[in-house]
Symmetry: D2
Subunit: 146 residues, 4 copies
Amino acid sequence: MDIKSRNREYKEYVLEKIGSNHFSKHIDFTITEIKEGSIVAETCFETYMQQQDGFVHGGISSAFADMACGFAAYSLVEKGQRVMTVEMKISYFSRGMGDRIIARGKVVKPGKRFHFCEAEIFTVKEGKETLIAKASSTMAVIDLKE
Amino acid sequence: MDIKSRNREYKEYVLEKIGSNHFSKHIDFTITEIKEGSIVAETCFETYMQQQDGFVHGGISSAFADMACGFAAYSLVEKGQRVMTVEMKISYFSRGMGDRIIARGKVVKPGKRFHFCEAEIFTVKEGKETLIAKASSTMAVIDLKE
Amino acid sequence: MDIKSRNREYKEYVLEKIGSNHFSKHIDFTITEIKEGSIVAETCFETYMQQQDGFVHGGISSAFADMACGFAAYSLVEKGQRVMTVEMKISYFSRGMGDRIIARGKVVKPGKRFHFCEAEIFTVKEGKETLIAKASSTMAVIDLKE
Amino acid sequence: MDIKSRNREYKEYVLEKIGSNHFSKHIDFTITEIKEGSIVAETCFETYMQQQDGFVHGGISSAFADMACGFAAYSLVEKGQRVMTVEMKISYFSRGMGDRIIARGKVVKPGKRFHFCEAEIFTVKEGKETLIAKASSTMAVIDLKE
């Protein structure tokens, strides 16, 4: 599906939003690609992101998925509009280990009131990607005046 | 529903698990109550847990919900068994601000192979709690030998 | 939580909506109670509602849950407004058998743009209720002019 | 992903299961394609499948999605094993109208204990398909002796 943004400066808008997001910065969520309706981001897999057995904590995967969906949605809205997560479901396919975590988020069905989004979370070990989780979410589009 | 644990030392088991969980420690997820099939936990709402508008980041709420469900499930399993999140859905009811975040997790339907769990996330401001998110999840029970 | 409807004639409005709903009539979804923000409905467990092992088909439970949530939301909106399911998640707690199926739906967090709802599905056998499924959903509130 | 079935006679097994499923027959859920890990099915859009405004009832879409996921999972399990829906989430992308409803279900991550599945639901009007809903589900694999 070919999705068009309502904001010509969508790349700048996504980067502006992520730049002021405390938790994204805290976990060093670094965007490596922005298209109309999709983003890719990554981070180093740090020790604090582990659960008790050394694998990626489910909370980290879900936080990444939420950000990947949210910033994918931000790439489509008008300047001044905000995006808010209404709900998200995440399924955990595999336990993950590696050097890096990659999140790929995209809008699968854009709309005026909400964007339906999906995100896939991968770990990377010696260059090989493993899909560890997949999420689907509803992102509401909010006008600034609301 | 009156739920019984398969582990007489369930409180110790939950605390042992959380003690070795890196991400739980990182966000200072502190358990304040453990019963058979439920837990309560809290943390201070730190600046790094905010999204761009100063509210609790959705990823923090979902990470908290995952932990609250997971440790509630840990309170029921046998010593040696592990708990793994199969999937979780979270709905965001309100934007949250305040001094503390509280998570209440419980097993709503225990089982041999999975525990169905729910978690509610609250912010606390001047002593007043606001329910900001609610989650439902499937937690698989895994034998150590698996 | 004490929820107030925006429609004084909410009972009539729910019954009017269900009366014109083909699928609700087809499966004989009969409302036995309407309050502000909640409904109860039931039907006979007919043979065509079974899956291959004689239990309630998951699709029947999810259809019932969708209706229970939807009509609970209809009890709160203004006359002329419509309710639309954005998404629903259902967890299957037990296989169900019996004479009747009961659905209890309620709005757990009302809002201007959406109502967050939950539904529980029970089978009844010799007067004893068994909770077989639980669902959570997002119901959008739509103005007729939209 | 190239998925292999544990049952050489997987097509016969899926057809045997669907043949004894009362609700699938009731809504005339007709399988038109079976592969290892995926199925396609369709039905005529009958009047009883409508909600109050003439569109496909959400309960019909969710029932179809449950079947499409379930029979996709049945194509992978061993003879004698059963498949049970643990949970499903469905998002409603568009209101649907037309002559036929098509469901495409697939296993997106197979496993020993569960298969993670997805389904897409389409309406067809004058030969043109519209994606109206998308679902993700967890299907448990159960040994007959359990």
